[in-house]
């Protein structure tokens, strides 16, 4: 390879890296720079007293607390809904599934993983419509519907993660466990799941992050700009990503804009933090894996 070709290749790769990194730093740096100064109790609690607001004794009107609570409730509920089905499906794929059925389900998981979040949101919305008609208006777009929708969104990730974590268990270990007199279910429950649990836990953390950032799906299933802290499973709710979006679309002045930056920074820290925890788990339990 001629010297100048080598330089071109290395230069091109280095330049690409630089472009990507600078794009990243510029956009995120902007958020950090403009968001950091806004971080204050007032940003979160508005004019209410922090202690009272935290314990829901006082309503917060112009702070981010309702949105923060909303996001936290949403992601916990969503992942709680997705985990049982996701875990069991992952177990089925790695232990009980065979042949055609397994191939079809595998395709389903890949398809589900690629479906855009807004389309999943549409699905959630249609679910809400059906329930609305079925319960004569009692149920509509709400926290529960949004959580169900998000759980569909993160389900493929949990399934794949569980499947991979279980399939990583080597043949020698499996033979040894079978030779100990374990039935398939015993082996899974007492040995394989405990062995796979760091990986599964890590997948759950990543799912939490995915739910925290999603905006499109919740836009169609019950999130609103002002609803207070989530008061009922079937009520409207606020969430951080939607608050950010709403402020970007129409903000009534520099204070609201500043609030937008603050919210963006908080969401960024939340997602980065969750990702960091998952990376720590990966490092601690699988030191030889990436």
């Amino acid at each position: 390879m001629k010297p100048f070709q080598r330089v071109l290749l290395r230069g091109g790769a280095g330049l690409s890296t630089l472009i990507l990194l600078s794009g990243l730093f510029v956009f995120l740096g902007n958020i950090v720079l403009k968001g950091l100064p806004t971080l204050s109790l007032a940003l979160i609690f508005g004019e209410a007293s922090p202690i009272d607001a935290l314990f829901l004794k006082e309503r917060v009107f112009d702070g981010l607390l309702p949105a923060i609570y909303g996001t936290v409730c949403l992601i916990l509920l969503s992942v709680a809904l997705a985990l049982p089905t996701g875990l069991l499906t992952g177990i089925w794929l790695s232990h009980f599934g065979k042949g055609k059925a397994k191939a079809v389900l595998s395709l389903c998981i890949d398809t589900l993983a690629g479906v855009p979040s807004i389309v999943v949101g549409l699905f959630g919305f249609s679910l809400a419509i059906i329930l609305h008609k079925a319960t004569a208006g009692e149920i509509g777009p709400s926290l529960f519907i949004a959580a169900t929708t998000l759980s569909v969104l993160v389900l493929p990730g949990i399934v794949r993660n569980t499947q991979l974590a279980l399939e990583a268990i080597g043949l020698e270990t499996r033979l040894a466990v079978t030779a100990m007199g374990a039935t398939p279910v015993q082996a899974i429950v007492r040995v394989y799941l405990p062995m796979a649990s760091p990986g599964i836990f890590r997948g759950a953390i990543l799912a939490l992050g995915r739910c925290a950032e999603d905006t499109a799906a919740i836009m169609l299933t019950g999130v609103v700009a002002t609803a207070g802290v989530p008061y009922a499973l079937f009520g409207r709710f606020e969430a951080l990503p939607f608050a950010i979006f709403a402020i970007a679309s129409e903000y009534a002045g520099p204070e609201e804009l500043a609030q937008g930056y603050g919210a963006a920074l908080i969401l960024l820290l939340l997602c980065a933090g969750l990702f960091g925890i998952s990376a720590l788990i990966a490092r601690r339990f699988h030191p030889d894996n990436r």
């Binding site: 080597g170 020698e172 270990t173 033979l175 040894a176 466990v177 079978t178 030779a179 100990m180 007199g181 374990a182 039935t183 015993q186 007492r190 040995v191 405990p194 062995m195």
Partner: protein, 230 residues
Amino acid sequence: MKISISNLSFRYDSKTILNAVSMEVPEGSLTAITGPSGEGKSTLLSVINRLWRPEEGARVTGSAMANFKGITTNLLEPHLDLPSLRRNAAMVFQNPTPLPFSIYKNVSLPLTFAGVKKKDEITLKVKRALNRAGLWDEVKERLSEPATRLSGGQQQRLALARALVTEPEILLLDEPTSSLDAVSRDRIEAQLMELKKSCTLLLVSHSESQVTRLADRVYQLKGGRLERRL
């Protein structure tokens, strides 16, 4: 005879691994199977605890019988209670594969699978198994430590304890000392000699000297055919 195998053929994927082999294993002895590697010694062993690898298309013909507490069991019976069989014919592999749990849990797992619930009963049996494997003194203070921290030789004795905890009548050993140093190997051989008094042992080994040291009866597996040598 503890185990009687007669005219057993094991065919997989158009390859004949075992060709009409016959073997008799007397109770309370150590019977060895030697021969070139990769020729089916492990397969023969795995017929007894029905552990052959779950690939489709293994065809087994002939007969294999084992005697458990006076009752004759047909090892090739399709609806045999396999977990129960494996508790009575326990296996030790070449690689110890300790599970990433505590030493205690590693040894007690087979009892959990067997449905033993009482904690005292489990602890008693674990202690007894570790003693019979020659590991108790070294780990009695550290039962809750991870088994992965033990040395290679200790891990293999742990595997032996794990096999002994269900008090099996038959012990199947597949090259148990091949990956160990001479000192660890000697320790395990000493335990095996002791165990002859309470179990029937079937040992696969490619080491002639080990077979000479330990075996009461020797078979050689070559080209799919089994021949008695001692």
